[in-house]
Amino acid sequence: MMKRKKQATECHDCGEVRELIAQYMGGDEDNELARALLLHAQSCTDCARLLHSLKRLVDYCHLEPNCEMPVTVRRELWVIIRRELYAD
């Protein structure tokens, strides 16, 4: 953990930073990692764009509403289920 944080705060190599972006976006959202990424992103347009667009993408996905199950799909499901449950 410490090793990773050290890398996050010290490295300026985009390849390494992109791995850290993957970790960050994958759920490892500790503050030090976030701070390091933001610091790097302030001086690197490409990494900033990558981080920003991934965050936007995830936000879009999270806001995506559930699909509406069509009435016909539901009706067919229940016909099949009841046939299975009460076959005798």
Partner: protein, 201 residues
């Protein structure tokens, strides 16, 4: 006095936990399985729709998933939560169908989502109005299309994690993968989506 009156009011019944319903099904109670279907039919349809990309295939996968769940529920040993087990069945059924489906481009003419959900989507810099609604529909269609085009291994992770909101740990249980593998596939899948949706991001 008021206190007595309040006490006289029956508390609303708490929903029966999934595990209890499963035990009842295992003991031969069919109605308990109906309750489980009612509880999860929409969530499972979401998963099958996102994975299959069209209504007809999603409907078949939905039916197969619940039939399999019923036929194998006797073997459920409560080592995981019921929903994890059910989602695993639904995902496996869908992925199996996807793999069998030869590489035929199917263009869905189904409405991918309900109209009522439109307003839940926030798109910065566009004010409410027809333009925004159009942009939302456009983005939603583009998102589903991009998800449809993902490799099944990436698609399943992205659908469960980003669209269904499961945690990394839950996805790892559903797909029988390590958490590290989930994170890796998730990132690769997101990078592909990012490229395909670059216009909107």
């Amino acid at each position: 006095m008021l206190e007595n009156k309040q006490l006289a009011v029956a508390a609303p019944a708490l929903p029966v936990p999934d595990d209890e319903l499963v035990k009842r099904v295992q003991a031969g109670n069919s109605e308990a399985f109906e309750e489980l279907v009612r509880r999860y039919e929409r969530k499972v349809y979401n998963i099958t729709y996102r994975l299959m990309g069209n209504e007809q295939d999603a409907s078949e996968a939905l039916q197969d998933a619940f039939l399999r769940a019923y036929r194998f529920i006797g073997k459920f040993q409560f080592k995981s939560s019921f929903f994890t087990w059910l989602y695993r069945i639904a995902t496996n059924v869908s992925l199996s169908k996807l793999r069998k489906r030869e590489k035929v481009d199917i263009v869905s003419i189904d409405q991918p989502v309900n109209e009522a959900g439109d307003l839940a989507f926030e798109i910065p810099d566009v004010k409410y109005g027809p333009e925004k609604l159009m942009k939302q529909r456009e983005l939603r269609a583009a998102l589903q299309k991009a998800v449809d085009e993902l490799e099944p291994d990436y698609r399943s992770v992205v659908v469960l994690r980003d669209l269904e909101g499961l945690s990394n740990e839950e996805v790892s249980k559903v797909l029988a993968l390590s958490v590290a593998a989930v994170k890796s596939r998730l990132h690769r899948g997101r990078l592909v989506l990012r490229e395909k949706l670059a216009h909107y991001l």
